[in-house]
Amino acid sequence: MGFSEEFEQRFAEMLKHYPTKRSVLVPTLLYAQDEGGYLSDELIAEIARRLDLTELEVRNVVSYYSMLTTKPRGKYKVQVCTNIACMLRGGEELFQHCEKKLGVGHKGTTADGLFSLEEVECIGACSWAPAAQVNYDFHENLTAEKLDRVLDEYRKLSH
């Protein structure tokens, strides 16, 4: 298992920013997950080793943060916000539309491994609701049709 050069550079750089090694843990886990798709046993062991932590200490942190996952997810994570500001402007209907369109429910992954769906809490797009994130990209002022087009774009991107 190897990380990208960019990861290694950032990791080495970040270690210099804090008085304790463990302080880099949370952002490092997220960047590691971005590269590996999810936090596998192997990844967790490697990060624990590098930071002089036990695997249990790392898992303890992983289980707390909602973006971190120890299970494989799709290539594109579709995260639809249904919190109050989005709910008032059709966020729940949008999520249901995704369920139908992708044929999976909350935290489900399509059979081809392309998309994961998740109903998420406020992503900070309240004034441009309803909104969703696909991986880290924001898509705002959505309608079902607009979201269909967005998903089709990602589908094309994967080919």
Partner: protein, 439 residues
Amino acid sequence: MADLVSHPDEMKVVSKRFGLGATNIDRYLELEGYKAVQKALGMQPDVIINEVKNSGLRGRGGAGFNTGMKWSFVPKQSPKPKYVLCNGDESEPGTCKDRLILEHDPHAVIEGVMIAALAAQSHTGYVYIRGEYRYLSVIMQKALRDAYPRGFLGKNIFGSGYDLDIYWHGGAGAYEVGEESALMESLEGKRGIPRIRPPFPAVVGLWGGPTVINNVETLASVPPIISAGAEWYANLGTPKNGGTRLFCLSGHLNRPGVYELPMGYNLKKMIYDVGGGIPDGRQLKAVVPGGSSTPCLAADEIDVATDFDSLTKAGSMMGSGGVVVADETTLMVKFALRTMQFYQHESCGWCIPCREGTDWLMKTLARLHSGGGLKKDIDNTQYLSENMLGRTFCPLGDAAAMPTIAFVKKFRREFEDHLEGQPCAFEANAGVERLPVLT
């Protein structure tokens, strides 16, 4: 990325560089950037603190504590290093302003952290950005990288002999981490659970050192105060509520968006004039004036000034500036349930009244919503909420309880209409674990 809006009543202080390309350091310098910090380098720390204190700037993250006062609690002498921590873990539902500041004016945030560091005589600052805001982390990392070779950060900043490093830090999805003590835990690489206070972070914070913690918008408001003076800033707002604020208008509005308005701006005018009123001539039902943690105001309660003291007097709070507008079609039981689902999901589980309270409230509201509630469930939501208030390490318990009390008190009729097998029209959507439906 997010669309910018404008309105003639806006007073652009924090948002003055939005849309002008100020992420570029040269452009930022052209637009009067990094002048305030150079002025601050010539001021005594006490003078900086007093200036900020007198400006009436209060914490824009939600608590509304006087910023200069907060800085003054940091001890002058400390055996341990002192730190400045900028809170960019924006995640209060209804709030999307820090995102715009970090997107359009990252150097203003850096400059604010620098001035706070000079005031506290700290040599290390961190800007914590929530994990979902990855593109903003990229922008911030670049802004920091650009500031070092110019001599604005690092050793001997601006040739002053003062050393100051500022680093970026990222989260990974947790509302609770926006609470200042949980934020420190997260930055130290741990689960984001709150610490007991006292001692307050100003005395014992990051790695045991005194730590100044302020919200992104608060820190971005500091350079203009140093440049133009406390009196100028204070006069923009109302007594003890200095300056302007970014209001995030969302929900049932014709022109939702983030608008910078003077503190004390009338809420009714904000909704009907700035926000363009409610679509299709529908009537207003309720407004959540400062993010989901703040008690809602009913339609007849909105003729109020939006500053910390006026909204507290009106029985709510100014919170984080997230104004969520709900029209007459909104089902308040549903609204209360969705709000509680959020707090149940985000409760870190450290304090029992919050962990159990949010779960029981969510299940009780879900049962009411599905038409299986008992009359006493309505009073039970009040009883549960009131028993959470003030009984937790951090304000998340209060944040869940306060709006629930207001929803039930102000819209009790709607809760009663849900009794006796009258499920909500939205019942099909309520896919949450719930108490058994009683018949």
